[in-house]
């Protein structure tokens, strides 16, 4: 099943009368269960592409389908609901809602989806346990390290079992080791739960670990390479 289908996507930004072509005709299909990365130099259009897939931005041309739904022309409210139902987001940093505790941040998604309270709690607690944060569920984001915050973000992104998790440079603010552990976690979730991940990254480690590497340059796909399934490091390490 195709989770994502992009057809001749273009995106140009207008800033002060200057038109910047950020994406210049991208066709892309992402299938269920992929663990893929968008790579490419700065300004090549990685973030723009993720935003278009996530319905955070509208393409200048072409069509975007997410989970079999053509989202071109959706209203802000429809896009909001689409993100809630089908997409999990992980950003580079400052991902969490500061006034909510770790578990409340995770619960928040389920709350928006209208899930009943005890079930919500139960699932969120289980999810946090899965990302290795059992003892820290009641901490607020500012009481957590960057790596722990990103783990909460991962838990939040997948707790509702979305079709796809979009992660824009999730490891960029983390040190090597923390980044690697986070990547292990996501890869494990990908394998055990079949959750589809699409990253954007500069991080060599992410590119190495990704099972498919889509390289962008100047707003077009330069290479698209499916590698063998890499063995996640976490399999060897004790969690």
């Amino acid at each position: 099943m195709n989770i994502i289908e992009l057809q001749s996507i273009t995106k140009t930004y207008d800033t002060n009368g200057l038109t910047v072509p950020a994406v210049r005709g991208v066709d892309l299909v992402v299938e269920k269960g992929e663990f893929s990365a968008l790579a490419g130099p700065s300004g090549s259009g990685k973030t723009t592409l993720l935003n278009l897939i996530g319905g955070l931005d509208n393409p200048s041309g072409g069509t975007v389908s997410v989970g079999g739904e053509n989202i071109t022309g959706y209203s802000p409210r429809q896009l909001s609901d689409l993100r809630l139902r089908k997409i999990g987001f992980i950003f580079q940093a400052y991902n969490l809602i500061p006034v909510l505790s770790a578990i409340e941040n995770v619960e928040y998604i389920l709350l928006l989806q209208g899930m009943e309270k005890t079930e919500r709690r139960r699932r969120s607690a289980a999810m946090l346990a899965e990302v290795g944060l059992e003892g820290l569920t009641d901490r607020r984001p500012h009481q957590l390290s960057g790596g722990q915050q990103q783990r909460v973000a991962v838990a939040r992104a997948i707790v509702s079992e979305p079709d796809i998790v979009l992660a824009d440079e999730p490891t960029a603010n983390l040190d090597q080791k923390t980044g690697a552990a986070l990547l292990d976690l996501m890869h494990e979730l990908n394998r055990t739960k079949g959750i589809t991940f699409l990253f954007s990254t500069h991080d060599g480690m992410v590119m190495e670990r990704a099972e498919r590497l889509i390289s962008l340059r100047d707003g077009v796909v330069e290479h698209d390479r499916v590698k063998r399934r890499a063995k996640p490091r976490s399999a060897k390490r004790k969690r």
């Binding site: 409210r77 909001s80 006034v99 909510l100």
Partner: protein
């Protein structure tokens, strides 16, 4: 919903000081409002009550024309039917006859134009506070009988005419035949009411004595009536008119007799409402300003909330809820402070002796007992809440319209 409220609540306390400033400005506004309302109510009530309990009574029955011109021909004879009509209404506490005639009071020193009021001392005690206002010191006393050849004068008049209790004075007035008559009397007592104009103007004597001097016989100027339920006053009046059924008579309430008092109360109310509007404007702007600032600070996080699927209406609700929280906390504090101070002050009253003279002119007395009605507080509370919600509308709409992408860029 619970979470959205929890978020709103916690967001308030992220900027403790700023929120406290807003909350205290709301609290202070409400406090000031309740206190000034209490004092104003107290003053108005006292002014009305004092005027009723001295000059006017709640309701008076006159011959038509008497209220405009107190000439002797405008007096009338009370009938059984009138007395039965009065007795029939259980909301009427008491009634007393009076004779009122313009005249002069003279001492050996000087003289002064006055309104001479003849009263039945025993009945008068039930409808006015004249008895309470009469000094019981230095030999001063209330009138003993309707026929007593004695007068009550105000302390002010006594001072002007250089009279003390036991002195002689002369009352000069026109009798039935328009002849000027003068009658010597003893000063039985002096009084002082909170209503300055009343003290300046009025001299009391026995009603029987006055009827005898002027040849009025059994005629009287008015029947003054005290009622138990002030709210029912117009109804009582209407019923009395019907029951008496005499076209030559008129039944007037204190509001008919003293329209200036009614409009003065209205005037003070208006001033108060203007003050409230100003207070509310302050509340609106401080709340709106705080919320706009809060939204600017949380731009990024609102972007995160939206990008993970929070609907715009949720964001708006959260912001409105923050405003409601600010408003509620301020409200509770302000209402508590306001009602407690009104309650505390109403025990001993506020002594405004310093402003005694001007207050006497307004007839309130020098000690104000603040009064606040539960309904007023409820109305004030609702208005404040409505205003804070109103103040939140613009920031809430603004927050709801934040574009997630722009906000995500903003760190």
């Amino acid at each position: 919903m619970q979470t959205i409220f929890a978020m709103g609540w916690r967001n308030i306390w992220r900027h403790r000081r700023r929120s406290l400033v807003v909350i205290s400005s709301i609290a202070l506004g409400i406090f000031a409002m309740i206190l000034s309302m209490g004092i104003m109510n107290g003053m108005n009530n006292q002014a009305i009550e004092n005027t009723i309990r001295t000059a006017l009574g709640h309701i008076a029955i006159h011959r038509k024309g008497f209220h405009e011109d107190m000439k002797i021909a405008h007096n009338f004879k009370s009938t059984d039917r009138i007395m039965r009509s009065i007795a029939a209404d259980r909301r009427i506490a008491a009634a007393a006859p009076r004779v009122k005639l313009p005249g002069m009071v003279r001492s050996s020193e000087t003289s002064q134009g006055v309104l001479i009021v003849g009263i039945d001392p025993e009945k008068e005690m039930k409808i006015s506070n004249l008895y309470q206002y009469t000094s019981k010191e230095n030999g001063s006393r209330f009138l003993a009988s309707p026929d007593e050849n004695a007068a009550l004068i105000s302390q002010q008049t006594a001072d002007r005419l250089k009279l003390v209790v036991g002195d002689k004075l002369v009352l000069m007035l026109q009798d039935r035949n328009n002849e000027i008559v003068g009658v010597g009397m003893t000063v039985a007592g002096t009084f002082q009411t909170p209503v300055e104009s009343f003290d300046k103007l009025v001299v009391f004597t026995g009603i029987g004595k006055l009827q005898e001097i002027t040849g009025l016989g059994e005629n009287i100027s008015e029947i003054s009536i005290a009622i138990t339920d002030p709210a029912a006053i117009t109804d009582i009046k209407r019923r009395l008119i019907g029951a008496i059924g005499d076209d030559s008579l008129e039944v007037l309430t204190w509001m008919d007799m003293a329209p200036y008092l009614v409009s003065a109360v209205k005037f003070f109310d208006t001033i108060m409402y203007i003050t409230f509007v100003i207070i509310f404007l302050v509340v609106v702007f401080s709340v709106a300003n705080t919320l706009v600032m809060a939204i600017m600070e949380r731009f990024h996080e609102i972007g995160v909330m939206k990008s993970i699927g929070t609907r715009p209406s949720w964001i708006a609700t959260m912001i409105v809820f923050e405003a409601v929280n600010l408003g509620l906390v301020g409200l509770v504090a302000g209402v508590a402070a306001g009602t407690l101070s009104v309650a505390a002050l109403s025990i001993g009253g506020i002594n405004l002796g310093l402003f005694m003279e001007s207050l006497r002119a307004w007839g309130t007395g020098s000690v104000i007992f603040p009064v606040i009605k539960g309904m007023d507080i409820v109305v004030a509370a609702l208005i404040v809440l409505a205003t804070t919600v109103l103040a939140a509308v613009y920031p809430a709409v603004k927050a709801a319209r934040i574009k997630p992408l722009e906000a995500l860029h903003f760190v």
